[in-house]
Amino acid sequence: MSIDIAQFHQVFFEESFEGLEIMESSLLDLEIGQPDSEAINTIFRAAHSIKGGSGTFGFSAIGEFTHVLETLLDEMRNGTRDVTREAVDVLLLAVDSLREMLSAARDGADFDANAVAEVHAKLERQLALGGDQAPAATAPAAPTESAAQPAGAGDWIIAFAPHPNLFATGNDPVRILRELRALGRSEIEADLSQLPDYAEFDPETSYARWTVTLDGSVEERAIREVFEWVEDDADISLTRGADAAAATATQSGADDTAAPVVAAAPDADERRTGEDRRTGDERRSTDRRAGGNTAAASSIRVDIGKVDSLINLVGELVITQSMLGQLDDPQTVDFEKLREGLAQLERNTRELQESVMRIRMLPISFSFNRFPRLVRDLSTKLGKEVELKIVGEQTELDKTVLEKIADPLVHLVRNALDHGIEKPDIRAEAGKPLCGTLTLAARHEGGNIVIEISDDGAGLDAEKLLAKARERGLVGADEVLPEERIHELIFHPGFSTAKELSDVSGRGVGMDVVKRNIKELGGVIELHSTFGAGSTIRIRLPLTLAILDGQLVRVGDQTYIVPLVSIVESLQIDPERVKSVVGAAELYRLRGEYIPIVRLYEVFNIEPQSSALEDGLIVVVEGEGQRAGILIDELLGQQQVVIKSLETNYRKVDGISGATILGDGTVAMIMDAGGLIALNRIQPQSPIPSPKVKAA
């Protein structure tokens, strides 16, 4: 029977990556001077599992790499090797290499073999220095010939005398004899001389011995293999028929010369068979990698409690449905019961929705987990001392949001380390503790998750920022900005200089990209900073990507959805506050600020109910850090809508972030505040264009 081993690959990859996480975090926590033996054991076992699995499932390169790693760890847990900082550093590099190799194997891609070989060499160097013994002898011992190596081809004469306690190992002499018989033509003679009287007979003791004559063409190695497991629990001698006279008959324990010979050879044979097996796998695995692994379908681990609660809710839904079904009597309409049923339905649907969302949610620790390592490496590289605090790592958020927030978080943390926390000498001068503190915190607030990255570093120098902004023409020479607005300038594209886009923070990855990524997730990012004391970045993200709370609005006969999170307020226009600039742009004075008015019907080319400002309403929205007032005809209700993609079958439309299906089955477009504001700028204000002609 041939089994497709590839079906176990995904589990192997998942558990290996988990194992690597455990290894990494345990290595980071390891106290160099007094390592915790349980921790070392855990690290060893993780490496051991990966090694075992990679061999079994045909990833020999990974297996070979892990071998040295495992040996190092084995010595550490035995106490024959010290746990030094250097060793830990090399082990951490090994974890990185393994991650690369496993990812490559999983995705059918390549990995940087040179880099991996370098790390492998470092591991071997570690192995060479320190440690009491030479690396595990992988070189097979020179196979020792049995004293009776045949020159001729006489039959084998095998004497097999199990020790009395052979059964206690779960071995059965009859099985062994059966295996010998299967090797070739044979004759078996039993010697029952040791059998005691019936009265003293102990069924748990082995008394019988056998002499087996076996076809001489059978390989010695095959015979040794049969006895592999029992060589310590039996007296075995192997001789050639031609030399029968020379062979000594074995008695229990009396003959020592035969025993060691028999004992030594199987080890060599075993190693040889082990190697053979390995080459076989190697061949198989290179074939597999050449074929390429299709990327494993994205999967998620779910707490079974969540699944149970889901099942319960569906059960309640079924009950509600049958309750409503009973009201289907054309004669009498029980409005009371109907209303009750609908309320129940609404509750069921809401609870079901929340429950399902929770299934996609994972704790943010999955993302936070990479930071101890990152902070350690980066602070060392920068010559700074930093302590990382993590708060609220069990806070859950949607899996997709989690995946997409990972890179922005990395950038922000790197930034905090690079530009925020100062070098120890500077901190000392400022009277701060030498070790800086970086805190990553997450919590739920309303329907959002709030992530904060705070440091007690240098904070932002508003004066410098303003000067630089003026230099780049982002801010007018005599424009005055409140401090927060100055801080927000760092999110402006083109703000970072070559000096700041250091190798550490990343080239071409600016704060503007971070802000854009967060915006794409439907979130917002704020920055609070005190010069000299530190900064805090606060990110607010919706818990789920698929649903948003929207305000329905009508323009002409078209219904649109404005995301509530974008709306500042809605108001009726006071014509006095409308100002026209250069005869083209219209501005509305709102409490000291001038915001542009967006005539939606113009931007979207639809026929409005009225083009007179006084007849309509303004919905003040905020997007891309800007505000504008959208002119609409009527405010309709508010509701939660499921976001559906326009791009799947059509493409991205400026000013629109997606579509949804309303209760009546029709499609409504969801407005993108920032996009609309941008669109409004590009399109010149013009008199109302002739509306599109519609067919019936």
Binding site: I5, H9, V11, S49, G53, T71, A168, N171, W229
Partner: protein
């Protein structure tokens, strides 16, 4: 058919072993470490035990030692799943009462061959 207790802290190994054995008609009970295996072995009799060596909460060798102490498992075949560099584990295992071993990495066919050997 015979009942096999498969013990390994690696889920992928357990799955592979389980799948292979079930496909050949064996009944398989899985355990994630030595203690789990001991509890399960006490609850229901199994006919053969396959166990990894390195596991948390009691390793394979200690498991075998403990099982041998139970009267119903005095003569039950117990196999260790060892790696080729663990030669000392074999000796330790034997001392604890192991019947034999299967060297990792092994493939499904080797597993089945060994098992049928041991169960007769």
């Amino acid at each position: 058919m015979a009942n096999v207790l498969a013990v390994d802290d690696s889920a992928s190994m357990r799955q592979m072993v389980s799948f292979t054995l079930k496909g050949a008609g064996y009944d398989v009970t899985e355990a994630v470490d030595g203690q789990d295996a001991l509890d399960k072995a006490r609850t229901g009799k199994v006919d053969v035990i396959l166990t990894d060596v390195n596991m948390p909460n009691m390793d394979g060798i200690e498991l075998i030692r403990q099982l041998r102490g139970l009267p119903q498992y005095k003569f039950t075949p117990m196999l260790l799943l060892t790696t080729e560099s663990g030669a000392d584990k074999k000796a330790e295992g034997k001392a604890a009462g192991a019947t034999g071993w299967l060297v990792k990495p092994f493939n499904p066919d080797q597993l089945l061959a060994t098992l049928s050997k041991v169960l007769g």
